[in-house]
C-alpha cells in the first residue's frame, strides 16, 4: 500500500515533468564493450569537429546492446548498437516484431584476439590451436576412449612448451570473445589434432563431437573471466604461470606487462590480422536503426564519420588504438551513404 502511494505520487510528479522533456538531439549508442573504446574515440572526435553534440556511448555487451536496440523505434530507444559479432537471426526477428525493420549493418574493422602471459614469466612464445585444445578440453581422446583431461603441465602436451602448470584465463561465456575462442582455437585445434575424427570414428555424432571439442575443462585450470581484460591482467599479474586471452588493443596498451605468443607460428599484428593469416580474429560491427536517420540529428554524419578513411583507415586513431582496419572500407562507406538496409543490401 505504501508502495502504491509512493509510486502514485512519484508518477504524478513525473507526468508533470514528462511534458517538459525536450526532443533528444544527441545520438545514443550502446553495446559491446570491445567496440566501446573505438566508439568513444569516434564520438569524441565527432563532437570536436561537428556542430552536433557528442554522442552518448554505453557499454554492457553485444547481446544486451542488441536487445535494447530491438526494443522499438522512438526517441527513448537507442539509435546504434555496437556488436562484436554479427546480429543473429533471432535478434533480427525480435527487432522486426518490435517494429525495427530497417537495420543498416556497418563493419568497422577487425579485432585480433591474442594469447599473452606475464612478461617475466615462463617462455610462452608460441602456441598452436591443437595445444590449446589439449590444454583446455574437458575430455580428450586417449586410446580411442574419451577420458577426463589428464594434462597438468604445458610441457606434457608438447616438449617445446615450458614446464609450467596449465593455468588459463579465458573470457567468460557472456563475452563475444569466448565464441571466437571456442570456434577458432578449440574447434580448430580439435580438428587439427585429429581428436574430432577419432570421436566421430568412435561413434559420437558430429554435433556432439563439436560440442565436446568446445567444452572447457572445469577442474580449475581454466578460469572464466566474466569481467573485462583489466581483470584478466590482474590475474596474470598475480600468477606467473597464467596465460590470458586479450584483445590486441588491450595488449598494445599494456606491452610493458605482457608478452604475446604466436598462434600457429604467426605473430598477431595489425598486418597479419588484416591479411587473415593470424587465425584468431573477428569482425566488429555496429547496427543503425534506419528509421532514426533524419530524425535524430547527426546520426548519419556520425556513422559516416566513423568509417571515414581518416578515422577507421589504417592511419587513423582507431588503428592507432588497436583496430585492424577493414580493407573493404569504401564498400562500407557506400552502404551508409546509400542507407542500404540489411535486407536490401545483401
Amino acid at each position: 500500500m505504501m508502495n502504491a502511494k509512493l509510486t502514485a505520487s512519484t508518477l504524478a510528479i513525473l507526468a508533470a515533468s514528462a511534458t517538459v522533456a525536450v526532443a533528444r538531439d544527441q545520438v545514443q549508442v550502446a553495446g559491446s564493450s570491445t567496440v566501446l573504446p573505438y566508439a568513444s574515440i569516434v564520438a569524441e572526435a565527432f563532437g570536436e569537429n561537428f556542430d552536433f553534440p557528442t554522442p552518448v556511448v554505453e557499454s554492457g555487451g553485444s547481446s544486451a546492446g542488441l536487445k535494447r536496440f530491438c526494443e522499438g523505434v522512438g526517441e527513448n530507444t537507442i539509435d546504434i548498437a555496437n556488436s562484436s559479432r554479427k546480429i543473429r537471426e533471432g535478434e533480427v526477428e525480435a527487432c522486426a516484431a518490435a517494429g525495427v525493420t530497417d537495420i543498416i549493418e556497418v563493419r568497422i574493422g577487425y579485432d585480433g584476439i591474442v594469447f599473452a602471459s606475464q612478461i617475466d614469466g615462463p617462455e610462452f612464445t608460441a602456441f598452436t590451436p591443437d595445444q590449446w585444445y589439449k590444454a583446455m578440453a574437458g575430455e580428450v581422446m586417449v586410446d580411442g576412449a574419451l577420458t577426463a583431461n589428464p594434462y597438468t603441465k604445458w610441457s606434457e602436451i608438447d616438449a617445446s612448451l615450458p614446464d609450467a602448470e596449465i593455468m588459463a584465463f579465458i573470457p567468460g561465456t557472456k563475452h563475444g570473445t569466448r565464441e571466437v575462442f571456442e570456434e577458432k582455437v578449440l574447434l580448430a585445434g580439435c580438428e587439427a589434432s585429429g581428436a574430432m575424427e577419432a570421436m566421430v570414428a568412435s561413434g559420437v555424432t558430429e554435433d556432439d563431437a563439436e560440442d565436446k571439442c568446445m567444452s572447457v575443462r572445469t577442474d580449475g585450470r581454466s578460469v572464466d573471466i566474466d569481467g573485462d581484460y583489466t581483470e584478466t591482467l590482474a590475474r596474470i599479474d598475480a600468477n606467473p604461470n597464467g596465460v590470458g586471452v586479450f584483445g590486441l588493443a588491450f595488449y598494445e596498451n599494456n606491452q610493458d606487462k605482457l608478452k604475446v605468443a604466436t598462434m600457429g607460428g604467426i605473430e598477431p599484428t595489425v598486418e597479419t590480422i588484416s591479411t587473415g593469416n593470424y587465425p584468431v580474429s573477428r569482425p566488429l560491427y555496429f547496427y543503425i536503426k534506419a528509421a532514426h536517420l533524419g530524425v535524430i540529428p547527426g546520426l548519419k554524419e556520425y556513422a559516416q564519420f566513423f568509417v571515414a578513411d581518416e578515422i577507421a583507415g589504417p592511419d587513423g586513431p582507431l588503428a592507432e588504438y588497436g583496430l585492424v582496419s577493414d580493407p573493404e572500407l569504401s564498400g562500407t562507406q557506400a552502404i551508409i551513404e546509400n542507407e542500404e538496409t540489411m535486407a536490401s543490401g545483401s
Binding site: 500500500m1 505504501m2 508502495n3 502511494k5 509512493l6 509510486t7 505520487s9 512519484t10 508518477l11 510528479i13 513525473l14 507526468a15 515533468s17 514528462a18 517538459v20 522533456a21 525536450v22 533528444r24 544527441q26 545514443q28 550502446a30 564493450s33 566501446l36 573504446p37 566508439a39 568513444s40 574515440i41 564520438a43 569524441e44 572526435a45 563532437g47 570536436e48 569537429n49 553534440p53 557528442t54 552518448v56 556511448v57 554505453e58 557499454s59 554492457g60 526494443e71 526517441e75 527513448n76 537507442i78 612478461i119 569481467g227 573485462d228 581484460y229 583489466t230 588493443a249 588491450f250 598494445e252 596498451n253 599494456n254 606491452q255 610493458d256 581518416e310 586513431p317 592507432e320 588504438y321
Partner: protein, 444 residues
C-alpha cells in the same frame, strides 16, 4: 584533599577484592581489550584502504603540461584566405595535427636539443591539442598566420613518467613510448617548456576517450551526481517526512499500518539493483523519460532513499517526549499545530541527519544506474536545471567503474583519483550530519 588521600595510601578502604570481584574486573578488562582490538582492526583496514587509494590516485591531481610556440600556418588552416570561420571549420582536427609536428621541430632546433633515436616527438603532446588549437582559431580567425604560444597537456605516458608510472625500462618494452621520447621530455623540462603542476582540470573537464586519458576529468560526473542529489532531496525529503508524520502521529495502529511498517523496513534492505530494474520498467519504458538522464537516476535513487528517510524520521519523531505533545494539546493546540509547531522542530535535526546519510548512500550508488543508461561515455555537460535534468550525464561512482575497465594504465590512476573526490564529498556530507546532530539535537 586528593593529596591527603594519596598520602594515606596504606588504608585502601574497606573493600577487599574477593575472587568473584576479581573475576568480574578481569572480564571487564578483557571486554575492553576486545573492543580496542576491534577498533584497531577497523582502523588498520581503513588506513590500508586509504593509503592504497591515495597512493594510486594522488597522481590524478597532478598533470604535466608542455608549452609550444605554434605557427598557425594560413596555408593549412585557411586555404581560401578570407578568414571566414564557416569555411575554416571545414579543416578538421586532423588538419591541425601537422602544426604540432612543425612546432616540435622548430622547438627542437631553437633549443638545440639533440636526442639520439628520437622519433615522433609530437607524440609527447596529447591528442587533445589539435582540438584545443582548432577551438582557439575558430574563435579568433585573425590569429591565423601568427605564431602563438600554446600550453598543451602532455601525453599520458609522458605524464606517467613524471609520476613514476612509466620508467625507462617499461618504455623499452612499450611500443607507445620510447626511452628517447622520455629523454626528450627531460630536455624540454630543462628548457623550462615542460612542467608538472596541480590539475584542476581533473575536477572540471569531461570524460575523454581511451586515446587521451590525460584530459579526462570528472566534470560531467560531478554535475550529474549533483543534479541527482537535488532531485533526491527535492522528492525524498517532503514525501518521506510527510509519510512519517502521518504514520507516526495520525495513522491508527492497526494491521494495515503494521503491514506498511514491515514493508518499509523490507524496502530499506532490498538490493539497489532492484530499484534500477523498476526504474527502467516504469520511468523509461512506461513513462517515456529519456535514457541516461539525471531525472531518471534521481527518481530511482529517491525510491531507494525513501525508506532510510522514513525510518530515521519516525525514529526522531518518537524520540520527542509525549509531554511536549500533551502540553501543547493541553493549552488548546490542535493535533496539527502540535505536530508542526512543537514536535517537528524538535525532531528536525534528527530528520536532517537521516536525510544527509540517505543522500550520502545514494551518492555512492552505481548498481541501479547501470540499467538506466547512466554508465556511459558522456562528454557534453548537461545544461542548467530544469533542462539539464533531462540531458545525458554520468555519476561519480559510475565514472570510477568506467575508468577501471579501460586498457590504458593511466585510467587506473584516474579511477583512484575519482574515488578520492567521491570520498571527500561523502566525508563532507557525513561531517555535516555529525555537526547537525551535535549542535541541535536535544536530549531528554
Amino acid at each position: 584533599m586528593t593529596d591527603m588521600t594519596a598520602g594515606a595510601a596504606p588504608v585502601r578502604g574497606t573493600l577487599v577484592a574477593d575472587a568473584h570481584t576479581r573475576k568480574r574486573n578481569a572480564s571487564e578488562k578483557r571486554f575492553r581489550l576486545y573492543g580496542a582490538i576491534a577498533v584497531s582492526l577497523a582502523v588498520i583496514a581503513l588506513v590500508f584502504l586509504l593509503t592504497s587509494i591515495v597512493r594510486n590516485g594522488a597522481g590524478a591531481f597532478m598533470q604535466t603540461y608542455i608549452s609550444l610556440d605554434v605557427t598557425l600556418d594560413a596555408a593549412k588552416l585557411d586555404k581560401s584566405g578570407n578568414r571566414n570561420p564557416v569555411e575554416m571549420a571545414k579543416v578538421t582536427t586532423f588538419g591541425y595535427a601537422p602544426l604540432i609536428k612543425d612546432a616540435m621541430a622548430s622547438t627542437i632546433a631553437a633549443n638545440g636539443i639533440e636526442i639520439e633515436g628520437l622519433d615522433k616527438p609530437e607524440d609527447l603532446i596529447s591528442k587533445e591539442a589539435s582540438a584545443q588549437m582548432r577551438d582557439v582559431v575558430l574563435a579568433n580567425p585573425e590569429l591565423v598566420g601568427e605564431t602563438r604560444r600554446f600550453e598543451f597537456v602532455a601525453d599520458g605516458r609522458i605524464d606517467g613518467y613524471y609520476k613514476g608510472r612509466v620508467t625507462m625500462q617499461s618504455a623499452e618494452r612499450d611500443s607507445n613510448v620510447t626511452p628517447a621520447q622520455l629523454r626528450f621530455a627531460d630536455a624540454l623540462k630543462e628548457a623550462g617548456l615542460l612542467e608538472t603542476r596541480f590539475n584542476w582540470n581533473f575536477i572540471t573537464w569531461p570524460d575523454a576517450s581511451e586515446n587521451r586519458p590525460e584530459v579526462s576529468g570528472l566534470g560531467v560526473a560531478i554535475l550529474g551526481s549533483f543534479y541527482m542529489m537535488l532531485i533526491v532531496l527535492g522528492l525524498a525529503l517532503p514525501i518521506g517526512v510527510a509519510a512519517s508524520i502521518y504514520l507516526e502521529e495520525f495513522a491508527p495502529r492497526n494491521r494495515l499500518t503494521d503491514l506498511i511498517e514491515v514493508n518499509i523496513s523490507n524496502l530499506a534492505a532490498v538490493p539497489s539493483i532492484v530499484f534500477g530494474i523498476l526504474g527502467l520498467a516504469i520511468f523509461i519504458n512506461f513513462v517515456g523519460l529519456p535514457q541516461s538522464a539525471p531525472i531518471v537516476g534521481g527518481l530511482v535513487l529517491t525510491l531507494m532513499t525513501l525508506p532510510t528517510i522514513i525510518i530515521t524520521t519516525r525514529a526522531s519523531l518518537t524520540a520527542v517526549p509525549p509531554s511536549i505533545r500533551e502540553a501543547a494539546l493541553g493549552v488548546g493546540a490542535s493535533k496539527m499545530q502540535t505536530v508542526f509547531h512543537h514536535v517537528l522542530p524538535l525532531a528536525g535535526p534528527g530528520i536532517m541527519t537521516g536525510t544527509i546519510i540517505g543522500l550520502a548512500q545514494a551518492l555512492g550508488e552505481t548498481a541501479p544506474l547501470l540499467l538506466i543508461g547512466m554508465v556511459a561515455f558522456v562528454r557534453e555537460y548537461p545544461s542548467a536545471p530544469p533542462e539539464g535534468f533531462f540531458e545525458p550525464a554520468t555519476a561519480l561512482p559510475v565514472q570510477v567503474f568506467n575508468w577501471t575497465q579501460r586498457a590504458d594504465p593511466a585510467f587506473i590512476e584516474r579511477a583512484s583519483g575519482a574515488i578520492i573526490v567521491l570520498l571527500v564529498f561523502l566525508f563532507i556530507m557525513n561531517a555535516i550530519a555529525v555537526v547537525l546532530r551535535r549542535r541541535f539535537e536535544r536530549r531528554w
